[in-house]
């Protein structure tokens, strides 16, 4: 990728107060891939950060994780879920800043199921800290036009939580 030729910000949202989710809607289809950057804290210590696509709440998602909590390395998978996790075996902190990076490949095609690669980082939380990567799958051939970012168990994203969506062009 040539520097400066792509990586276009599509939308950004910084929460002024705690909220259940950040929603990106009406995502245009003119890019090749998407990158979603999230950072901040959560209200419930140890909660995970999840996404849903196109408001699909059915069990059409799955993901495989590789995680380390500072002591133990682990890997596992979750089939037929209602979300893809940035993380599963680690959590985000209610005090220490955390961050996540997710790549959504070939998001606008209407032929294949959609795949994601994500990283999640909590270096210093008091509950479920660690670093983690997940490979995700959404079993839908629909173009992705909406992304919901939220926490596990109906908890809130904390005030100051930021999510930004970038579009990547292949040519």
């Amino acid at each position: 990728m040539a520097a400066g030729s792509t990586y276009v910000p599509l939308a950004t949202n910084t929460l002024g107060s705690a909220a259940t989710s950040i929603d990106f809607t009406s995502i245009i289809s003119s890019y090749t891939d998407l990158i979603l950057i999230v950072s901040g804290t959560v209200v419930t210590n140890g909660a995970g950060i999840f996404i849903q696509l196109n408001s699909d709440t059915a069990s059409n998602y799955s993901f495989t994780y590789l995680s380390g909590n500072g002591t133990t390395a682990a890997s596992g998978r979750r089939a037929s879920q209602a979300y893809i996790g940035f993380n599963w075996n680690t959590g985000w902190s209610d005090t220490a800043q955390c961050n996540g990076i997710m790549h959504l490949q070939n998001y606008a095609n209407t032929t294949t199921y959609k795949t994601t690669i994500a990283r999640s980082n909590n270096a210093n939380g008091s509950s479920l800290p660690g670093t983690e990567t997940t490979a995700g799958l959404w079993r839908s051939t629909s173009a992705i036009n909406a992304i919901k970012v939220y926490t596990a168990g109906g908890g809130n994203l904390a005030s100051g939580f930021t999510a930004t969506l970038y579009g990547i062009v292949a040519a």
Binding site: T6, G70, Q97
Partner: protein, 172 residues
């Protein structure tokens, strides 16, 4: 909208190598930073730790790491290492010739008054035993905006052809 993945600065070690790689006077006009580092040292060990400092700070770093060696996976808690944040190991002079370790370091909201959360992906390949793929979550517990980044290696020189590229990313 404007393209926002912008090269801020780059560094290439010349003949004889360098003790440190420094990016200073980083402008506050971006949202996030991404650094791509490729490095090799003349350390006598196969691998050794490379550290990162923000604003020349020698304290308040912490980290959680997972790595795979080709035969096993392990996880460690990383604190302050040699006055900086340990981000991984780099190829020493006894590893396969011309092999460099590579890292991508992502720093969201580097100008905010919150503590700075860091994501590090790294590889140390050697076409032999002792090779590593590494993920690390880092935290610098400082409210200061990041204005400089330094990479250094204790007791060895960062060799010629090592490179670092600093990119700024804007969300608008």
């Amino acid at each position: 909208m404007a393209n926002t993945y912008t090269l801020i600065a780059s560094s290439t070690a010349g003949s004889g190598g360098v003790a440190n790689i420094d990016f200073t006077s980083i402008p506050a006009t971006y949202t996030d930073l991404n650094i791509l580092l490729s490095a090799r040292t003349n350390d006598a060990s196969i691998y050794g730790a490379i550290k990162l400092q923000f604003n020349n700070s020698t304290t308040t770093y912490s980290g959680k790491e997972i790595y795979g060696s080709g035969t096993a996976a392990a996880s460690y808690t990383r604190g302050v290492t040699d006055n900086g944040l340990y981000i991984g190991d780099v190829n020493g002079n006894t590893t396969t010739a011309n092999s460099f370790s590579n890292f991508s370091i992502y720093i969201p909201n580097y100008t905010s008054s919150n503590y700075k959360s860091v994501s590090v992906d790294g590889v140390e390949e050697n076409n032999a035993t002792e090779t590593y793929s590494r993920l690390l979550a880092g935290l610098w517990s400082s409210a200061s905006a990041i204005t400089s980044v330094k990479f250094s290696f204790t007791g060895a020189t960062i060799l010629e052809y090592s490179t670092a590229y600093l990119y700024g990313i804007k969300n608008s």
